[in-house]
């Protein structure tokens, strides 16, 4: 029984770390820039296909693809910001939402044309291997993806906390006019921030693609996961997002272990509704106090 519980907890923690990076970019872009990037999950899905194609065509290991995804998707994010968001941002937030929704549909449709709706998996040398600690078995691929997610979360946290550019990005989210007054080029930093959010989405896609089967349609499910993390963790705080991801990962594995599969999503979405209805900022404040 204890071994079973330990397996559930370790599985939940590793999944939670990946859910955290799936929500991190969304949370930071929404919290700091005020952009509801509903296309975030489409970039996650593209991240999975990025790893899939690198592995299939060039034999590049998904671990390498994870790090390659960061600059590639960062560049993609800054291009999207400069071509699309910079134009709609001036008009209104709702225009931005519509634009991002359009982008999501476009990416999903183009992906369906490119890869069809068939489900894909990435089968690396360690995909089906397990590590054994006493009587505890941990899927090697989950451990690798979890550690990668943790490293990325730490890098994001350290960047925002300890670098002047990171502090300027946080300042921009707290008082945009004051940031402009001290000489910060808010538009340039917004492009950087959006690029970082998309880089995070791409890397999350690689990590998710290492574990789960995926297709262009999977992004809708991942969008729900990412929003669940954001709503639970609040906006713009790396540590809160990490904790929210861990809570959701643990809840999912516990529910999967003790409930019929069909009830797992029901529990998570009821939780989501309950948070929204009862006290939207409640858990955020609780987490803030705990840190």
């Amino acid at each position: 029984m204890l071994d079973h519980l330990a397996a559930i907890i370790s599985d939940g923690i590793l999944l939670g770390l990946i859910y955290a990076i799936a929500g991190l970019g969304l949370s930071l872009v929404l919290g700091i820039m005020g952009i509801v990037n509903v296309a975030h999950s489409a970039f996650i899905m593209l991240g999975s296909f990025f790893a899939f194609e690198l592995f299939r065509r060039l034999g590049v290991d998904p671990i390498i693809a994870f790090f390659l995804a960061l600059p590639v998707f960062f560049l993609l994010g800054t291009i999207v910001y400069r071509l699309l968001l910079i134009r709609v941002e001036r008009v209104s937030q709702s225009q931005g939402l519509v634009a991002m929704f359009g982008l999501m549909v476009l990416i999903e449709n183009l992906s369906t044309i490119a890869w069809t709706t068939d489900t894909r998996v990435i089968t690396a040398s360690y995909t089906n291997a397990s590590l054994v600690f006493g009587s505890l078995y941990i899927a090697q691929v989950k451990l690798i993806a979890g550690v990668l997610a943790l490293v990325l979360t730490f890098l994001f946290w350290a960047f925002l906390r300890f670098t002047l550019a990171g502090r300027a990005i946080r300042a921009m989210g707290q008082n945009r006019d004051a940031a402009l007054s001290v000489g910060i080029d808010v538009r340039k930093l917004s492009a950087v921030m959006f690029g970082l959010g998309i880089a995070c989405a791409g890397a999350a896609g690689v990590a998710l693609g290492m574990i789960f089967p995926f297709s262009p349609n999977t992004q809708v499910q991942w969008l729900a996961w990412a929003f669940l993390v954001v709503i639970l963790g609040g906006l713009g705080r790396v540590a809160n997002t990490l904790i929210a991801g861990l809570v959701i990962g643990l809840l999912q594995t516990v529910c999967t272990a003790f409930l019929p599969f069909d009830y797992v999503y029901l529990v998570l979405y009821v939780l989501l509704a309950a948070i929204l209805v009862l006290r939207r900022e409640g858990l955020t404040l609780a987490v803030k106090r705990a840190i």
Binding site: R167, D177, A179, V182, G183
Partner: protein, 245 residues
Amino acid sequence: MNTASSAPALKIADVVAGYTAGHPVLRGVNLTAQPGRITVILGPNGAGKSTLLRAIAGFLQPETGSIVLGDHQITNLPPHRHMEHGIALLPQGRSTFPELTVAENIELGGWTMRGDRARLRGAVEAMFARYPHLRELRERPAGSLSGGQQRAVEIARLVVCDPKVLLIDEPSVGLSPIVAAQVYRELEALKAEGRTILLVDQDVRAAIKIADYVYVLNSGKNDVEGDRSAFEGDLGVMVRRWLGV
């Protein structure tokens, strides 16, 4: 710190600007802020005082007119580039970055010096030497400080990169009389260092007390202007006229 010799004059000529096209708040304002002086802008609510500061600071693009600093045309300069020209704005209301620490707030004031980290660190430490009461608060989030302390952080952040022209909007709003008096003393100290100060204030009496020259705006236009001595009489008459009483 002494910038007196290099502080340029700020000249505003026939500026028309507003928040909605075709509905200007400023309807042809003319003003000169002399170097090393405190120029005060007074006027009733809605006269366009804060709008004028926002236009000078680049937050509003004038429809017509010009804004010139020394020999530099800055009329259409975006707000983040004003600091490069030595112009700094202290906006109305709280403008700290509340979740950043006091030290981080002041450090960001020196954003234009970010290429020279040693100089930036030195400038931040100089601010803690200048405002020693902030030193012990340096690791506190700015949002957790009192109103007066936050204003001190804002002033330190304003002057950390040694700007020559300060645009100050309602510096005493929400402060106790004692703290407000300290703020006005600090503005006089900044003027004594040779900085050009353009001050918008609702506290007519306090503003006139430190002014070298006063402009009064009304309905987005110049009304009256003159040296401080011209405004030292019965302020009640002037205020009653603004109110239309």
